[in-house]
Symmetry: C2
Subunit: 217 residues, 2 copies
DNA sequence: GTGGGCATCATCCGATCGGCTACTCCGGTG
DNA sequence: CACCGGAGTAGCCGATCGGATGATGCCCAC
């Protein structure tokens, strides 16, 4: 509703591997007097360089950045720079793991790409002021999560889940991980408990849904 | 490389549920003299109305249109209109099932959102001429697929896969589907063969990857 | 009008899974 | 130093799975 009282526009850097999306954000933000896009990047390295050079107030970041390092890692890297920007995550997905990783990495906001432009503008202004901005559905997920114990799967368990998704049997997993079959079964039991399932198929589905493992693509 | 010899610009309608993406495409296409965005839509109904009114040469469509009807269905609906446009699918995903559905629905092109703008422009011009345009990775998938027998999973088999992803046992699936356990096992065997796996966990992963079933979110 | 694909059902049987209990190492933390 | 959690290991055993084989009814296409 209201505008920012400062005379200086909010300096924004766009980080997204989709040229189309970058152009879209540029076009949208260009219509706002108090928002200025001072740079953009399609990958982590470029992002780091641009942020270092431009010292933006806000970085608008797409989480599904390429296939390499996740947006969460990128966020962390940018926040480690001197005079770090506020990071506002703007993504297509609203999966729990994504949100948590981004917020844990230090992002102060999380909006979805299908958000109306006004919400986006307001989000950027709020982010520049250091406020936390969450899309409604994102907030809802966080609330829902706050009431449940965090299923923290260990690194090893993730490995087992990945092999599991490839359809390996316990014996094969054991060989692959250089451990005994008993150990694999042990990990599986723990995974089942943490994911709230009791079958391999259910574990794979749950793991993919919570983005503990990815399903290729 | 070359431009279209016609004096009339290519009339384009954008269909995408992300305002940001629509703005991006508008901005990008706006820089091309021979391309004119004559309308846009964020959902199926609007798309149908706009196409009916504007009679565009090309429809740029995002497959991941909302959570309702898929882009494939939307494509089919638009092609069913009088004087139908050429449909160029522009999406984030390059999953086999998506591509096939879109192409089967009648789309003549398939590009990814992370494509460079030049490729996008060329694709639109080619589409306007009725040519087929495929992103490199998409073409590769089709080639890879052509050599293998088409894994066309039946409706019933999808049901089994969905229950499988929920971690149900054969007995439970049988009860859920009002059939005998033997039938469930039969379906599973067929599914395994079609997906090229031999375990329930592998089947779930393969089914999610090929978007035969969704994993929530 | 016959073949093929789909859905259905049945039986057999070896292989695997999943739950249970119990133990050893190790690195952190109070 | 004692405690805890993660990782690794072991054996037992009933339940389940997966493969093989074979059969029936239906509907559609050639």
């Amino acid at each position: 509703m209201t505008d920012t009282p400062t005379g200086q526009p909010v300096r924004v850097v766009l980080v997204d591997d989709h040229p189309v999306v970058r152009a879209g954000l540029r076009a949208l933000l260009g219509g706002q007097d108090d928002l200025a896009v001072v740079g953009e990047a399609g990958d982590l390295d470029t992002a780091e360089r641009v942020v270092r050079a431009e010292h933006p107030h806000v970085v608008l970041m797409d989480l599904s950045l390429g296939d390499g390092p996740g947006g969460a890692e990128t966020t962390a890297r940018l926040l480690a720079l001197p005079d770090p920007p506020h990071v506002l995550v703007l993504t297509t997905y609203d999966t729990e793991a994504d949100i948590l990783r981004a917020l844990e990495a230090g992002a102060v906001g999380y909006l979805l790409k299908d958000a109306p432009p006004e919400q986006l503008f307001a989000g950027i202004r709020a982010t520049a002021r250091g406020e936390t901005v969450l899309a409604a559905s994102v907030a809802a997920r966080l609330v829902r999560r706050a009431s449940s114990p965090g299923p923290v799967v260990t690194e090893r368990e993730v490995e087992v889940l990945e092999l599991l998704a490839r359809g390996l049997g316990n014996r094969e997993m054991a060989r692959e991980l250089f451990v005994s079959e008993a150990t694999v079964k042990s990990h599986l039991s723990h995974v089942y408990a943490k994911l709230g399932v009791d079958t391999r198929a259910g574990a794979v589905a749950a793991a993919i849904e919570r983005r503990i493992i990815r399903s290729g693509g």
